[in-house]
């Protein structure tokens, strides 16, 4: 078995649980947030900085690495861990979400997806088999089945077909995947249609995966609707397998997701936000590039233990960002990733102390999330 997952504690008043995910590159404590390193680097960060921030696992993107530098180059380097100098666990996505996001540049068939590169317009074809081949070349600890992610909103009939295709593709992925040092996760689809979600989950559980992604949420639907879908879906998910809510990473959604039994999350949001001069605080986002911070010599957050808050003022960070200095977006990225790794640590502590509902209530009442 490539991974071993153990639930070490369950919350008595919610579906939250503490877990230990053992991988070939070390242990991950769950619930966990995974920063995204799209092109074999978490934007602006060096690997040792991620470790210092307490990051235990990162995600990288099959579509991007396939196009550049080429998954064969990564394989020749000895795999993604070695190529990027990150010795800890990595999860790669299947490339599905990225190619579907190409819109008019792609065509879907039973066989797979034909698409044109966003870089040079060149033609390529991704199938379940091809996605497995690439992800085996990359060599992540956890890899994802090639799925179709339906958009929101979408007709029930479209979502059903898409979910059925995802199931057939999941079988083909399972048949192709051979690396014993990698765990292949299936992906539950079904949009916001609860019965389709349940069907999808049961079908995939029937195939038997060591873990399950929950795809196609946080794609434009209201947050409340996402929570409802999770409320309905999570009770039927297997207890002893990790559940990974894909593409979700805002603080309020992390807390709400954990309460519903999610173990893993990823999102480009905190790092992208940072590059736009926005920092996360307990109260919500702070647009640090704005004028009010020009002479504000306090840190982003009083009491925050991150390198940025320990050493630099809002005024300095604002100056750097206004002046397009790389250090500016490095400092905001450090803070935002630290914020989320600390939040997940606090969540785990709260589960361990069996007081997650209280922690969640207090956190959510102070935090103003994006709508």
């Amino acid at each position: 078995m490539a991974i071993q997952f153990t639930v070490t504690k369950e919350c008595s008043r919610s579906r939250a649980r503490l877990g230990r995910l053992q991988t070939p590159h070390g242990v991950v404590e769950t619930p966990v947030f995974m920063p995204v390193g799209t092109q074999a680097t978490v934007k602006t960060m060096a690997p040792h900085e991620l470790e210092e921030l307490g990051v235990e696992i990162i995600l990288s993107n099959t579509y991007h690495l396939y196009l550049r530098p080429g998954s064969d180059v990564v394989e020749e380097a000895g795999g993604l861990h070695k190529f990027m100098g990150w010795p800890r666990p990595i999860l790669t996505d299947s490339g599905g979400f990225q190619v579907f996001s190409l819109g008019p540049l792609r065509t879907i068939s039973e066989e797979g997806v034909e698409f044109r590169s966003h870089l040079d317009g060149s033609k390529h074809f991704f199938s379940p088999e091809k996605s497995m081949e690439i992800q085996m070349q990359l060599g992540a600890d956890i890899i994802m089945a090639f799925d179709e992610c339906a958009p929101y909103p979408a007709e029930r009939s479209y979502v059903k077909e898409s979910k059925d295709l995802t199931y057939r593709w999941a079988k083909r992925c399972q048949a192709t995947h051979t690396r014993e040092d990698q765990a292949l996760f299936g992906i539950v689809q079904g949009g916001v249609y609860k019965d389709l979600r349940r069907e999808s989950a049961l079908e995939l559980m029937d195939l038997g995966f060591p873990g399950y992604g929950i795809g196609g949420l946080s794609v434009g639907e209201p947050k409340e609707l996402m929570y409802e879908v999770l409320d309905d879906l999570m009770p039927i998910m297997p207890k002893n397998k990790p559940r990974y809510l894909m593409g979700v990473g805002s603080p309020d959604c992390l807390v709400e997701g954990v309460l519903r039994g999610v173990d893993m999350f990823d999102c480009v949001w905190p790092t992208r936000l940072a590059r736009h001069g926005m920092v996360i605080t307990r109260q919500g986002n702070l647009p640090i590039r704005n004028l009010p911070y020009a002479r504000d010599f306090t840190p982003i957050e009083e009491g925050c233990g991150c390198y940025t808050c320990q050493n630099f003022s809002r005024a300095y960070i604002r100056h750097l960002i206004k002046a397009n200095e790389v250090l500016g977006i490095r400092l905001t990225t450090i803070h935002n990733i630290y914020f989320l790794t600390r939040l997940m640590r606090e969540i785990r502590t709260a589960i361990a102390a069996d007081c997650l509902p209280e922690f969640a209530r207090e956190f959510l009442s102070g935090y103003e999330g994006e709508k």
Copy 2:
């Protein structure tokens, strides 16, 4: 006295010397190369990384900080050291070179220079007094007199007038500067006219500064001509004062400068080069963004002790740079700064062992510099 400079050893076969420059923010071993932090940050680098690379002093730019974030903001932050989180020595230039470089955007008079901001076109006036005022607000350990830097090539008559103006402005700087925790350096001008250089040096020595910049070199003249000017000028410079060759930073020029008695250097070259995907090696510059390095899994330089070479391959760095990833230019910047701080350390070791001429011969025979 703001600074104390002690020559601790002189080379028996060249004008090179070892020195100790004591400043309010610590000691600098000379000869030294100062990386440039134009906008209160050495581009892409965090302060602690500079310290880890062995950087002992950095330069920052008066013109840029005056415009953004404003020298009053820096003063309110408690000075430049505190604002940017750099606890070690800083030198600021006078703003002169930058405003002269604005070309048609500036007008020079006896009083000073009127110019328009490159950021928003707003009108400003720099005089010797204004430059002192700003540099006192910034609070660097070493500040520079406001000078006029003649271009190359330039008529002798223009260069003479410019040198005379620089002298009169140096007196006004001296009369204005009052901070006792800052050392004000005069700047020798005179272009490539040796007699004017000597005149300039003697005039300034007459005023008596704790150190001397040598300005207006490396502005387009052939390197050999710069070396000739230094050969002629350096013997009359005071032995017990630091000599700072402004704007010079390529490895061959550093070695040649030290051989002629220079103690301090600065240049944007190594950091700018890095951002263009070029790295410095013992053999010369390596264009790491080029195709031949796509599958080159060796470090930039075998045996180099920098973080970049210890952890990453040419192929990975090339990928990052091609993909416009910030980590790419961080890694090349780290290597280039390390290269120069190590070179200066080797130079100091060679002077201490009285074998600088041999070290220089060997280094220069292997290194192919830019023409």
